[in-house]
């Protein structure tokens, strides 16, 4: 039973975090806050991606034989050069899988 109380607690804190600001009656954020918010997606997504790509078992693995790094670089290059999101993701995924297969990692 206590596990369902735990899940209820997890629901309350998670939903609370997501909904809190949206229930406000709409007084705009000060300009400084808005300016800071512009950087949220870049900062958060980079913070998720960098460890996923560069770390392996907690150790820095910035080498050519790191499949995550190879795949991410290919995705990044294609999207940067041609602005084709799906093509970039597909090619990055293919390189990642090929790298792992070739290196037996």
């Amino acid at each position: 039973m206590s596990v369902y109380w735990m899940i209820l607690g997890m629901f309350i804190v998670t939903y609370g975090v997501r909904v809190g600001l949206w229930l406000g009656d709409g007084h705009a954020f000060p300009p400084a806050v808005r300016q800071a918010l512009d950087y949220v997606p870049i900062a958060v997504l980079s913070a998720i991606v960098a460890p996923a790509v560069l770390l392996r078992h907690g150790e820095l693995a910035a080498t050519w034989n790191n499949p995550q790094l190879a795949g991410a670089l290919v995705t990044g290059l294609i999207v940067w050069r041609w602005r084709r999101l799906l093509l970039g993701i597909g090619a990055g995924l293919a390189v990642f899988v090929a790298w792992r297969w070739l290196l037996g990692a």
Binding site: S2, V3, Y4, W5, M6, I7, G9, M10, V13, T14, Y15, V17, R18, V19, G20, L21, W22, L23, G26, A28, F29, V33, R34, A36, L37, Y39, V40, P41, I42, A43, V44, L45, S46, A47, I48, V49, A50, P51, A52, V53, L54, L55, G58, P67, Q68, G71, A72, T75, G76, V79, W80, L85, L86, G88, I89, G92, L93, F96, V97, R100
Partner: protein, 230 residues
């Protein structure tokens, strides 16, 4: 796109989320598989995906559960891990503030990393979009996907070993990379990305994913400092 073209709606939102669905599938499957051995019944496992709906926090919850942590520790950790969603809701706030309250209250439940990234990318593109419908399309595709793969994990997990070695989880990382790159429009943006990434790598060992929040805040600060300098 010609001006007569209808704005992107529900199905466009769902379609644009497809890479995220592929990326999230292995996580749902693995979560469903690991929850049982960690001590969650199938019903409790589904309840967690149904009501909490936050991949990272769910993984951490079952890890802590397996390690014998108390419920309060798990709830508090969930709060910290999901705090970043407040940043997302703040970012989208000015786009949703004119929606009816009940609609906002309902949609907020589905505000995950993935739906935020997709919706934000769409807004940044600047093409016509019916935002409430587009948002809901992305949200429900993601939610249905998460529930389906959690269930599949519960049902099939033990029968299919080595799920974590399929590599599909990389689709999520690739999608995030593909979303960040077009946002790097100038020096402040590049600085924000570099600082956030560096701090996240350096602070990865901090408990409860605190490194993620620290990295995000450092990246935002770096972007603001560079912007002031110009």
């Amino acid at each position: 796109m010609p001006p007569t073209h209808p704005p992107a709606g529900f199905w466009a939102g769902a379609r644009d989320t497809v890479p995220m669905l592929v990326g999230a599938a292995p996580f749902g499957l693995i979560f469903g598989t690991l929850a049982g051995p960690a001590g969650l019944s199938p019903a409790a496992t589904l309840a967690m995906s149904l009501f909490v709906y936050g991949g990272a926090s769910q993984f951490i919850a079952i890890t802590l559960l397996a390690a014998g942590s108390g419920a309060w520790v798990i709830v508090a950790t969930t709060f910290i891990v999901n705090l970043r969603h407040a940043l997302y809701s703040a970012t989208l706030w000015r786009h949703v503030m004119h929606w009816p309250r009940a609609w906002r209250a309902g949609c907020a439940f589905f505000l995950t990393d993935e739906t935020f990234a997709i919706v934000y990318h769409k807004l940044d593109e600047g093409t016509p979009v019916n935002l409430p419908r587009y948002y809901l399309g992305s949200a429900l595709a993601m939610y249905g996907n998460w529930l389906a793969w959690t269930s599949a994990g519960v049902l099939l997990g033990r029968a299919v070993p080595g799920m974590s070695e399929w590599g599909l989880e990389f689709a999520m990382v690739a999608t995030f990379v593909g979303i960040v790159v077009p946002l790097l429009k100038g020096r402040p943006q590049v600085a924000a990305a570099l600082v956030a990434g560096t701090v996240a790598v350096a602070a990865d060992a901090l408990p409860y994913k605190l490194g993620l929040m620290l990295a995000a805040l450092s990246g935002i600060a770096a972007g603001l400092v560079m912007e002031r300098r110009r």
